[in-house]
């Protein structure tokens, strides 16, 4: 047994304590319980496995990719288990815990311009990989079909089984878009009437870590707009407020993007019939945000 064998099969938790009394039922997939602490374990494992199967990830190659953190932590964990070198390109303003975790697993970090965000990290790693292709395995999480396929093969089927086929709405924020695309594609294949919604930050300049404001950033190749039935906009303040409620009222210590997802899911559920079943994703653990002080020093903050 390897640590990567523990990825997936996460529980589906009820958010009933937070849901409106007359709205739909709301559930969240506890992806923060994956071994590296985020949903990104699934895509990282699948992309690494595909690289090994296709002979792209030879034993002497260094894995490189761009990340705002969670995929990097996942690559670093799996790379350590495989005994491989991992180097990650991250914007200089990526948060302390992510960088510390990546280093703890023995991976290296290349800082890129904080003003350029994730697009800057992506451009830098792409250039380095093109300069020395023989040296690197570049999974390219934004454009690798194995990323959404991981969710098509695992996250989607798990949600289908855990709701006994009763899911009517799936809603999730977008980073690479892999989780949304793969899960939505599977669910719609099982039942064409399942509606799939995206969550978007209300501004291109926001504080919802790991989420992409699609209108102002490089569109990932794996993104599939035809799967989008609707969109909910969430502000950074609302995402943080809901992340706090999840910790204090439900005992779920999750990150800001989970707060955004749940805020959007609760709003959607309120507008739906009680017979509907809404599912969203708790993408990463809140322990990853302690240095940012978002939970404050007192229960009032």
């Amino acid at each position: 047994m390897n640590i990567a064998d523990l990825i997936g099969h996460t529980p589906l938790v009820s958010l009933e304590p937070l849901a409106a009394p007359k709205g739909a039922r709301v559930f969240a997939k506890a992806e923060f319980l994956n071994p590296s602490g985020s949903v990104k374990d699934r895509a990282a494992k699948a992309m690494i496995q595909a690289g090994l199967d296709l002979g792209l990830y030879g034993p002497d190659k260094i894995l490189i990719d761009a990340t705002s953190g969670n995929t990097g932590v996942a690559y670093a964990m799996i790379g350590a288990a495989l005994g491989r070198q991992v180097t990650l390109y991250m914007p200089g303003n990526a948060n302390f815990e992510r960088k510390a975790l990546i280093k703890a697993y023995g991976a290296k970090i290349v800082d890129t311009d904080p003003l350029e965000g994730s697009d800057g990290a992506y451009t830098a790693v792409k250039n380095e990989s093109e300069k020395n292709p023989e040296k690197y395995f570049f999974p390219n999480q934004y454009n690798n079909p194995a990323n959404p396929l991981a969710h098509y093969k695992t996250t989607g089927p798990e949600i289908w089984e855990q709701t006994e086929g009763k899911i009517t709405h799936f809603i999730n924020s977008l980073g690479t878009s892999g989780t949304f695309v793969g899960t939505a594609r599977f669910l719609k294949e099982k039942n064409l009437s399942v509606k799939t919604y995206i969550v978007q930050p209300d501004s291109p300049f926001h504080g919802i870590e790991g989420t992409k404001h699609m209108a102002s950033t490089i569109k990932p190749d794996i993104y599939d707009l035809t799967l989008v039935d609707g969109e909910e906009k969430v502000s950074t303040n609302e995402a943080i407020a809901v992340a706090k409620r999840l910790a204090r009222e439900v005992g779920l210590l999750v990150g800001v993007s989970s707060g955004a997802n749940v805020a959007a899911a609760l709003r959607l559920a309120k507008s739906l019939d009680p017979a509907a079943t809404v599912v969203t994703i708790l993408g990463d653990t809140g322990a990853r945000y302690l240095s940012e002080g978002i939970w404050g020093d007192s229960p009032e903050s």
Binding site: S68, N95, P114, G117, P204
Partner: protein
């Protein structure tokens, strides 16, 4: 001589694509007022309803975060560089 404000890519849609702006002001607050006056559409992305700077916006004077200086009252001198950076690294912001 004016102060140089560096604009992150996420906000360049509100500055006609410009990555840096020459602005005037003796403090960070005055500098941001000048920014909001010249590019009014940027204001709601930086300030909340009460006019306070949004919690995830970090402002650096040269290499120092104003949170560790005098906040918005931190003085700026002509020729200095001020940078706006989100406290997070997701998406492009």
């Amino acid at each position: 001589m004016s102060v140089n404000l560096l604009i992150p890519t996420a906000l360049r849609g509100f500055t006609n694509g410009q990555s840096q702006l020459e602005l005037t002001g003796a403090t960070v607050k005055e500098l941001l007022s000048d920014l909001a006056q010249k590019h009014p559409d940027i204001a709601p992305h930086l300030f909340d309803e009460t006019g306070a700077v949004r919690s995830f916006v970090n402002i650096f004077v040269e290499s120092k975060n104003i949170k560790n200086l005098n906040g918005l009252d931190t003085s700026v001198n002509p020729g200095q560089t001020v940078t706006l950076v989100p406290s997070i690294a997701g998406g492009r912001s």
